[in-house]
Symmetry: C2
Subunit: 214 residues, 2 copies
């Protein structure tokens, strides 16, 4: 069975539906992204407010919010490039590993490790992204989250097909449970309050996944 691993790519950098942005609007989008990137790098995502980004970019707050509905969406756009790179790297890895006949369980362990490091590298942006939409019912979940979930689910399904995991397993939930400790808020908790190290987490993940295989 083929896994559904098309690069989703529908983060909303250019809105891509309706007619294209006016030139000034497109310029501002770029300007905002560059400004935000610079300010975030200098003083941390948490400590830079939207008004400041607008001011520093020399535009009004209304303009900023016309481009990006909220801080999370801005952060999502900022993450976009790196995340697409990550997706493509993983896709390439899967290709190699498939040819090398690496078992799905091993692939899953590898993916979770890679994901762990990626998330750790972008905790602050992701934190802002995940903060958004606690009331919004659906659309609650950021796009990266869904791709991660889908990928893990796909690997689990492969493992079932490969006989490594019982066909009775609830793959949908297991994927969610494996992903939960990688939520940026939880990860941060684990790293700071609990004092876990990245290697420790990677090892722990691995042992959990191995537990799934019989």
């Amino acid at each position: 069975m083929k896994r559904d691993m098309i690069n989703l790519n529908l983060i909303q950098n250019p809105p891509s539906q309706g007619r294209p942005e006016r030139r000034d609007a497109a310029e501002n989008r770029q300007l905002i992204l560059e400004t935000a990137d610079r300010l975030f790098a200098a003083r941390g995502v948490q400590d830079v407010c939207m008004a400041e980004i607008a001011k520093e970019a020399g535009i009004g707050k209304g303009t900023l919010y016309r481009r990006f509905a909220n801080k999370g969406e801005l952060c999502l756009s900022l993450l976009d490039e790196d995340y697409q790179l990550f997706q493509n790297q993983q896709l390439a890895r899967f290709q190699e590993q498939m040819q090398a006949q690496l078992s799905p369980i091993e692939q899953l362990i590898g993916f979770l490790t890679q994901l762990l490091y990626f998330i750790n590298d972008h905790v602050d942006l992701l934190n802002e992204i995940e903060q958004v939409g606690l009331d919004d019912a659906s659309a609650n979940v950021s796009i990266p989250h869904w791709w991660n979930h889908l990928t893990i689910r796909g690997l689990l399904q492969s493992a079932v097909n490969h006989g490594e995991i019982s066909p009775d397993a609830d793959l949908e939930y297991i994927a969610g449970a494996l992903l939960a400790p990688l939520d940026s808020r939880i990860l941060r908790l684990h790293l700071t309050a609990h004092g876990f190290t990245l290697d420790q987490i990677a090892a722990g993940q691995e042992s959990l996944v191995r537990g799934l295989a019989r």
Copy 2:
């Protein structure tokens, strides 16, 4: 080996250190708790703001914040009674189950299920509690979280001693990983966006725990 399961009980309902509260202060604390409880019940935790609680209680905002440093702390106090009840119930359960010689793994599954339902019943309060302190480095973690973690860890340790789990396992991390999907924010995500049911989650948890046992 005995598990460390003293009822922590040090939620800060009366502050319990330093001299006792002045009478007016204690009255206000009660008044605030009752008012908040009523408003939250009527319109939801998220939709009631601190100013409204103060106004409805007929006190100033400063007074409110003198009693409770932030909304999360207020919610924690509101949760206190129920949570202590929960703790005691679980402690009693463990007693029974120990006498019935139920294996630690089974006890853990039972505990996680009970915890799932408890958290589900109090998602809104917990959500507010967990929102707090993303920058605070330590003290980040709410007291309930620690007790839950400690309890799970204790049960895992018993399972190791009982030969159900490999002694090489990283119990500290595993406890964290099992608890992660029960974080109120993640649980809410799972219930709404993913559409998981409580029974599904309980079953999924159980299968993960069984996977840990060899």
